[in-house]
Symmetry: C2
Subunit: 352 residues, 2 copies
C-alpha cells in the first residue's frame, strides 16, 4: 500500500482536475490509499462521481485554499495549519501519508514543505528535481528553481540526492552524474562549479559515477542520467527548452496547414504526428520532485489536466515504491561517514 | 564600401568553408572589400576558384593557425602578432577593416579581441550577443558566454549594448529590453538581477524601453527584442534550446520514417517540412557578435558550412552598415553623461 496525500485545491483548476486525476492514478495503481485535503463544499459532488476513489480515500475538510498568485510568506501566514496545502504536507508528519502531491503555487508549496517537514540532516538546502525527456529516455535535472545560487557543498548534495533519485526512478544501480557548465574544458566555469567537480570526484560516491562537466545541449542528448546545477541556471535551462519545444510545435502547426498538399500529407502521417506529440507531451513527465526534505513532495504543473496530474501521482508512487527517501539517507550517511538515521533502519517513512 | 577582415584558417574546415562562404556573401553584397588572413599554401588554390572574390580582396600570408582546441592563453602566447586570427582582428586597429569575422575557437577569439581591440570606454566587460529565432522574428540574447557572472552595472552595460545592437540589426527605434530571471515577481531572483532591474529602470535610457523581468520561455516567444543575462545562464539557455531543437528534429525524422503512410505523408508535405527546416536552420542565424570592444567581431559557429559562414558575414555587414559601434558609443556617452568619444563624431570606424 502506498499512502498519498493530495492538496485537492491546488492548481489552476483545483478539485476539477485533482479528483479525476487521482481516479486515473488509482486505476493504474490499485494499492494507493489517498488522503484528500480540500474544501468539502467544492469537492463532495466531484468525489461522488468517482466511487472507487471515494472508497479508497479519506477526505479532510479544510478552511483555506492557497491562491496560485499568493506570495509564499503570505500563504504561510494565512494558510499555516488550516490550508489544504499545509494539511496535505503535514499528513506526512502525522504518519498518514508517504508522499504528498500538489499542483499549487510552487513558492508556497516549497515554503510550507520546508517549514513543515524540515530539511534532512546533512542537507543545507532542498532542490527541485525535474524529469527531462532526452534522446535516450529520461534524465533528472536539479535544481530547477528551489533556491538561487549554490556553493560547491550544496552542488555536492544535489549530486547525492539526484543520484539517489535516479536509482529510485530509473532502477539503475550506478547512474551517471554530470555538472552543468559552459564548456568541457577544466578552465571554464564558475568557481563553485569547478570546486564542486573536485569535491564530487574526490568523494568517490558509491551511489553514482561522476561524468564531469556537461553543457546545455547535453541535457536533451541524454549524455548523463543526472544533471546538477544551481536553481537559477537550472530554471532557465528548463524554461528555455520548454519554450523551444512550444515554438517548434507552433512552426510545425503553421507549416502543416499552409497548403493543400501539406494538409493531405499531415492526414496521412497523422499517426506519426500523434507519436511525436506524445513524445513531446509535457503531461507524460509532469512532476517536479522536492528533494532534501523529511518527506517526498511532488509538484505538478499548475495548468496540468487530469492526465497530467495523474502522471505527477505516478511519480510520487514510484518514489515511494522504490524507497527514494531511504536511498538519499543511505548515501548521505555514507558520505558523512556517520550512522544512517533511525528512520532509515525502521524504514517507516517511504519503504513499503 | 564595407571592409571585412576574415580569419581564413578559423573553424573546423578553415579555408574550405571560409573562402566559398566569402564568395557567397560577396554575391549578395557587391560593396564588400575583403581582407583575408590565412596560410597562403592552403588558400591560394581555393581562391583561384573564386575569381570575383580574389579581385575584391587582399590576401595576407600568415605563419600560424590557431587550433580549435587550443587554450586561450596558449593561443595568445603562440599566435600573437602572427596568427591569422590575430592579424584579422588587428586589421581593425590598422584601419584596414570595419569588422572581423572568424569561425575559430571562441575562447581564443575573445582573448585576442580583448587584448588587441581593448574594451570601449565605460564598458567593464565585453559580451557575446546571440541572434535567437523567435515566434515573432528574432531577438538578441546577451551575454551567451564571454564571461561568467555579472554585477548589476555590467548587466546595465549589456542592456545598453544589446539595445544599440537591436536598433542596428532590426532597424527599430526603441527596442524592448528584458532581464532574464526565474520569475516575474519582484521578490524572486539573484540580487544582481534585482539591482540591475532598478538601475535600468531609473536610468530611463533613451535608446530602449525596459520591459522588466522575463523567464526562459519568453525568449522563444519573442516577448522582448533584447534579453539580458550573465554569461553562464545565457550560454546554458542557448545550448539547452539548441539541444531541444535538435532533439525534436530527431524525433520528427524517426516518426516520419516509421510507417509507409507516414513516408507518403512526408513526401506530400515536403514543401512544408522544407519551410520548417529552413525556419529551424541554425545557419540562418549564424554569428555571435562580440560587443563592448573598440571594433566589431563576429564569431561564426566552428562547424558552419559555406552558407552558414556567409550568414555570419551578413551579420557583420549589417552591423557596419547600420553603425553598431557608434550607436553603442552614443548610448554610453548619454548614459555616462559625458561627450561621445572622438571616433564617433569622426564616424570613421563603422559608419559608411
Amino acid at each position: 500500500m502506498v499512502r498519498i496525500s493530495l492538496d485537492v485545491m491546488g492548481g489552476d483548476y483545483g478539485p476539477e482536475v485533482v479528483i479525476p486525476g487521482a481516479a486515473r492514478a488509482l486505476e493504474r495503481h490499485p494499492d494507493i490509499k489517498f488522503v484528500l485535503f480540500g474544501i468539502e463544499a467544492q469537492c463532495a459532488g466531484l468525489l461522488e462521481k468517482h466511487p472507487k476513489l471515494k472508497a479508497n480515500s479519506t477526505f479532510y475538510d479544510c478552511e483555506i485554499a492557497v491562491a496560485m498568485d499568493e506570495k509564499p510568506s503570505q500563504a504561510l501566514r494565512r494558510g499555516r495549519g488550516k490550508s489544504s496545502m499545509w494539511k496535505a504536507i503535514d499528513a506526512i508528519n502525522a504518519g498518514e501519508a508517504d508522499v504528498v502531491v500538489s499542483a499549487g503555487n510552487t513558492g508556497a508549496l516549497m515554503a510550507m514543505s520546508v517549514f513543515c517537514l524540515r530539511t534532512m540532516q546533512g542537507i543545507q538546502r532542498p532542490a527541485i528535481a525535474a524529469i527531462w525527456p532526452t534522446l535516450k529516455g529520461e534524465s533528472i535535472v536539479l535544481d530547477v528553481g528551489a533556491t538561487i545560487g549554490a556553493d560547491a557543498q550544496q552542488l555536492m548534495d544535489f549530486a547525492l540526492m539526484g543520484g539517489a533519485m535516479a536509482r529510485a526512478l530509473f532502477e539503475i544501480e550506478r547512474p551517471m552524474v554530470g555538472l552543468l557548465n559552459v564548456g568541457v574544458e577544466e578552465i571554464k566555469g564558475q568557481e563553485e562549479v569547478k570546486e564542486a567537480g573536485r569535491l564530487i570526484r574526490e568523494a568517490n560516491i558509491d551511489g553514482f559515477d561522476y561524468y564531469g562537466f556537461v553543457e546545455g545541449d547535453d541535457i536533451g542528448r541524454g549524455t548523463v542520467d543526472v544533471v546538477v546545477t544551481e536553481g537559477f541556471s537550472g530554471n532557465i535551462a528548463l524554461k528555455a527548452a520548454e519554450g523551444t519545444a512550444r515554438q517548434i510545435a507552433e512552426y510545425l502547426r503553421a507549416a502543416m496547414s499552409r497548403t493543400l498538399l501539406a494538409k493531405i500529407g499531415y492526414i496521412l502521417a497523422k499517426g506519426a504526428f500523434d507519436r511525436l506529440r506524445e513524445k513531446m507531451d509535457p503531461r507524460k513527465v509532469n512532476g517536479g520532485v522536492f528533494l532534501g526534505l523529511n518527506g517526498v513532495v511532488i509538484k505538478s504543473h499548475g495548468g496540468a489536466d487530469a492526465e497530467g496530474f495523474a502522471a505527477a501521482i505516478d511519480v510520487g508512487y514510484d518514489m515511494v515504491k522504490n524507497g527514494l527517501k531511504s536511498k538519499i539517507e543511505l548515501d548521505l550517511a555514507k558520505y558523512h561517514g556517520g550512522e544512517p538515521p533511525k528512520a532509515l533502519s525502521a524504514g517507516m517513512n517511504d519503504e513499503v
